[in-house]
Symmetry: C2
Subunit: 674 residues, 2 copies
């Protein structure tokens, strides 16, 4: 939990007044030397205290044997000593009243059982004295605004993006790119093993940091989902996440459609979609998206005009723009006339405006001035060595600047633009993709927090009980009743009206059709009697040990659009609601949408509309549209069941028939905790 006090305490790490370097070294090739030097060279304005029992002076600073020997308060300790000495060092920090510690040293939980034990000792010592910890096994912290570089390499450009990384390298690469492009960062925190401070803490911290406008986090997994969700719910700034570990190594056993399709990564997708988190899939997207969200002003709409020296570059940009759903709309006639006197006769006055290779920066500037009012964004592509390009562009003016094919001029002008805080993208495609992420971002309404529960192994409810649970939520189910004999089955069928279906009801049989446990479309008492016997004998011969509750008789549903609705309780994120086309569609095309709780009616409608096969729902080739409202009711009802009954781990309504005027649940599978 990030309350105000703990935020203040992270200030001890990111904005300390005094720093002790425990393990400072006299030897220039040691990390304990480099970090001390970087703290000094980064321009840190507070006091710095090297700690090393064997030295008197390091880098002209007096050395102490222990942090406890320092006169005056110490906010932060940076620890670079062998792992086995770290618990004692943290203990001494606590005794001294140090508020935060960065443990660079590796050899803890990442290195096996012994290391795990050491890490527990470190945590215990820190908790005893309320010392907040970064690491262990990390690359430190760098805040170029404070300034303080308790990390490596020494990078000092101060910018707008806070980097949080579970991997030192991924974070360092981002730092390096932002530094190389003269944009800088607002802070870098390498989280290492996350023994204490994690992404939830840091997102909350940087949400309140005045220097940070965008947070970019590399994670391999979320450590505390509840706190993470709390942090992103309160977040007022864009968050870009590069989440690795996307592809499953092994296949999840297809116990149910919902479970098979709602794998770990799909859940992260759903979580990120819900909280408007911008997901990057590659290191380069991670950089581009963070850069765009920090330095591009959000446009009012998606209309873009390309202005370029290069027809080829503009076509590449247009391809990408169409793919991202931007509107590359034609240049209005009025604008055509306005730019005509400004540009060469052979220039192409359309969208893109192609100034041809003869263009000067001045021409770009003139055309930009005149056309600005007709579009939400000007996509300016300097596709040649355009000298002085940096002189005609403006920060925060809804200009997307791409510089491509300009060689040394490109490198020089791009640097000048970056120094002005104007982001420049190196290819048309990267620029457009990044702009699209800025356009996607919406304002958040702080949705409610989902309930998170512990998962458990499960037991399948008998069919009639499952139907009852569904029906009590007001969802129409197929007429059904449990028959214990051939004659009672016939009696039930006569009451329901033929044709009917028979299905075995047994807690031990998951896939009823696979064992001959289903008979459909029985049109008469004779057909039913025959089918009843066949069904029972097929089931008994294939599953002699199965407990049999009876045979479920249900009226055949009239044909409708077959869809699926379901819920699976994820160990980390709680209930995940699923919707998709049923039958073959779900198995072959995996055309489903997912959402986490809480599920609003709008969420439910959005789920229905975002599947690829939505055309089948909205009406197809003269077939009538089916009842979206009833489907949305069904999804919110499934969500209510999941919320109200934590014992239920899984719900599968499949098939669910959708009609022009309602729906019908034709089969239901509910797994409850054992």
């Amino acid at each position: 939990m990030m309350d105000k006090d703990s935020v203040k305490q992270l200030d001890a790490i990111l904005r300390p007044q005094s720093v002790a370097v425990i393990g400072a070294s006299t030897s220039p090739d040691k990390m304990g030397h480099e970090i001390l030097k970087n703290i000094i060279d980064s321009g840190f304005k507070g006091s710095v205290h090297p700690i090393n029992p064997k030295a008197d002076v390091i880098l002209d600073l007096p050395c102490h044997k222990s942090v406890k020997d320092i006169e005056g308060p110490v906010d932060l300790a940076v620890i670079i000593i062998p792992a086995r000495f770290v618990p004692q060092a943290v203990q001494e920090c606590g005794e001294k009243g140090v508020k935060g510690a960065i443990i660079i040293t590796g050899g803890f939980a990442e290195a096996g059982e012994e290391g795990e034990e050491l890490q527990q000792q470190v945590i215990a010592a820190a908790q005893k004295f309320d010392v907040r910890l970064i690491g262990p096994n990390c690359q430190g912290v760098n805040n170029p605004h404070h300034p303080l570089c308790a990390s490596w390499p020494l990078l000092t450009y101060a910018g707008k993006v806070a980097l949080i990384s579970q991997s030192g390298t991924v974070g360092a690469a981002m730092m390096d790119w932002f530094s190389e492009e003269k944009l800088g960062t607002s802070s870098f925190v390498s989280m290492g093993n996350r023994a204490d401070v994690d992404e939830a803490d840091l997102i909350a911290y940087f949400n309140q940091d005045p220097n940070t406008e965008v947070i970019a986090a590399y994670i391999e997994g979320i450590k505390r989902p509840e706190q993470f969700i709390q942090a992103v719910e309160q977040l007022q700034k864009p968050l870009v996440i590069l989440k690795s570990g996307r592809t499953p190594k092994g296949k999840v056993a297809a116990e149910s459609h919902t479970k098979a399709l709602a794998g770990a990564d799909a859940i992260y997708e759903a979580l990120f979609a819900k909280y408007d988190i911008c997901r990057a899939y590659t290191a380069e997207e991670f950089y581009d998206y963070a850069k765009a969200l920090a330095y591009l002003k959000p446009p009012q709409g998606n209309r873009i005009l390309f202005i370029t020296t290069s027809g080829g570059a503009a076509i590449l940009a247009t391809d990408q723009a169409e793919q991202e759903g931007l509107d590359v709309s034609p240049l209005p006639q009025e604008a055509v006339e306005a730019i005509t006197p400004l540009i060469p006769a052979h220039a192409i006055k359309a969208n893109p405006v192609d100034l041809t290779g003869d263009a000067t920066a001045r021409m770009f500037g003139d055309v930009m001035e005149v056309t600005r009012k007709y579009y939400d964004t000007l996509g300016v592509i300097f596709g040649d060595p355009v000298e002085d390009a940096s002189k005609v562009v403006t920060a925060d003016a809804n200009e997307l600047i791409i510089f491509y094919g300009g060689a040394d001029v490109e490198r020089h002008e791009s640097e000048l633009m970056h120094l002005k805080g104007i982001p420049v993208f190196p290819t048309p495609e990267r620029g457009i993709k990044a702009l699209a992420r800025v356009l996607e971002r919406k304002t958040l309404d702080a949705p409610q927090r989902p309930t998170l529960t512990v998962p458990a192994a499960g037991r399948q409810l008998p069919l009639h009980q499952a139907f009852a649970r569904i029906a009590e939520q007001g969802l129409p189910c197929t007429d059904f009743a449990l028959a214990d004999s051939q004659s009672s089955a016939v009696q039930i069928a006569k009451e329901q009206g033929f044709p009917v279906a028979l299905k075995i009801s047994s807690p031990d049989i998951l896939h009823k059709s696979d064992v001959g446990g289903v008979k459909l479309n029985l049109g008469s008492a004779e057909a039913l009697e025959k089918a009843f016997d066949e069904l029972l004998s097929a089931v008994k011969s294939s599953n002699p040990q199965a407990r049999i509750d009876g045979v479920l008789v249900s009226k055949m549903a009239s044909p409708g659009l077959e869809v699926i609705a379901g819920m699976n309780r994820d160990p980390q994120f709680g209930p995940v609601i699923l919707f998709g086309l049923g039958g073959i569609m779900v198995e072959i095309f995996q055309d489903v949408s997912l959402r986490l709780l809480p599920l609003t009616r709008e969420d439910a409608l959005a789920m229905i509309r975002e599947i690829k096969g939505y055309g089948l729902i909205s009406g197809y080739r003269g077939r009538p549209a089916v009842d979206e409202e009833a489907l949305a009711d069904c999804l919110t009802a499934v969500a209510r069941i999941a919320e109200s009954d934590p014992e239920i781990n899984e719900i599968d309504l499949n098939p669910l028939f959708a009609y022009p005027d309602g729906i019908l649940v034709a089969d239901a599978r509910i797994i409850v905790r054992d």
Copy 2:
């Protein structure tokens, strides 16, 4: 057509002995000065002749008034004078016996009708004297091996990749990147308007160029499909194509840029797949794929071991590798034991081998030596500033080198590796994607050339004629006969056996169901009689003018898997064969595969297997597999019809039913040329 003579003639452009620069200028900021200077500064060893009627000496070279005044032979003229003077200049080149000309000047076909007329004059002059032309409206030619830079900027690194570009900028950006990375190129040709020499000529030329190992082409459309296909059929080297104009708007942009005739993108996909052309979708992929194909030795298989200093970078690499179908298989126990003494105790001995941030280049080298024999590729990720990394890597040794997060050390070591001819990729994802393209490349069997024909508007064959055309290829069709009356329909149905279907047969009705022209599942003579009347009156009331051939009576097909097979004759590429799942699947999910002719049996089987819904064909949830061989027969039969009868523009077999032991064509639509 590229015969040996025309290849030799392109030598006049790419390997001239003497060059005239028509429009050479004394003014350093003019293109006519810069190109002359670049020719000299690139180290060109032949004679250089500036042509300018108003100057005596330019850049210390004696100037002539006309190319005809030069003593001795001239191989190449580079023309940089206003467009209106170019036809005369080309005429003079012809009279002088110049073999090739590069026309840099713009203002030709790309600039409207007047320019188009000028371009025609240029072409006429060139053809009269057999002068081969590059351009007009282009950025020239650069061959760093010869050497000769008749282009800008001056880039002189000689490498293995030949660049061909319809856009000066896209080509120049590639040149610049190859130059910045110290890899260089084998040649660069900016094709401009392609008045004469086009991509087909240049692919043929570079196929024979000893300095070229990979050809990389940026195109907006293929100029002469037949010659292009001929060139790629004979191609022995990898070809990477960045084809823009992918999306509908992008296509419009392509047409207005250089008047390229851009075909539908799906057809390009099919063409590239057929001829094993590596397609790039972005400028960056274009570079990475060309670089990988030129500098990475093709591995024997897809097993890869990652060796890294960074766990995070290795997870990103693994994600991408799984997505690309690489096999990140576990480190054999034998290898674990072999590397244990070589690396720190806390290193992770698995796949990836994580040496942790403490690793030295030496450790990398030791581990690479020991593990090489167990894998097809070593994926070496220097995920930190690893000094001397360049000393432990080897060219052509199936090492994929990624350097990421190494800041200045990364830049320095990468340059050293590039100078050794070892490609280094800047992120895990880019490296893996590029390697995957190298793995995909297969040896070509020089397939036969397709027949290309001119398209025409069409007329639909009556159903019974369409069925007859299909049946004569040995494809089983539904029993069918044309009835001219209710009673003859009943007679036919009795012979076929009930249930039957009725379908209107009229050349004027394309969508039969939409006008009530189809009645299915008629189980008795009575039902048939009633349906016959209903059908005719429905059709007559909706289409009173339609010519009616009769009513087709056909036996109902027994239910099978509904698929679609078809052919559409493309104006550029000739017949395109299509296969997909039928009914809703094809309309909603557009899950189809396409191929150009000629279609081998293997092609046909590959088409069937590459659709997403292949699971339905190979057997699904206990349903039997359907007859792939019969489906392949059907596709090759469709291809045969298309080949043998150029009058047929379109074939649509839909539905086509597939069974475990055969297929049945249940409906057929054939459009013939009017």
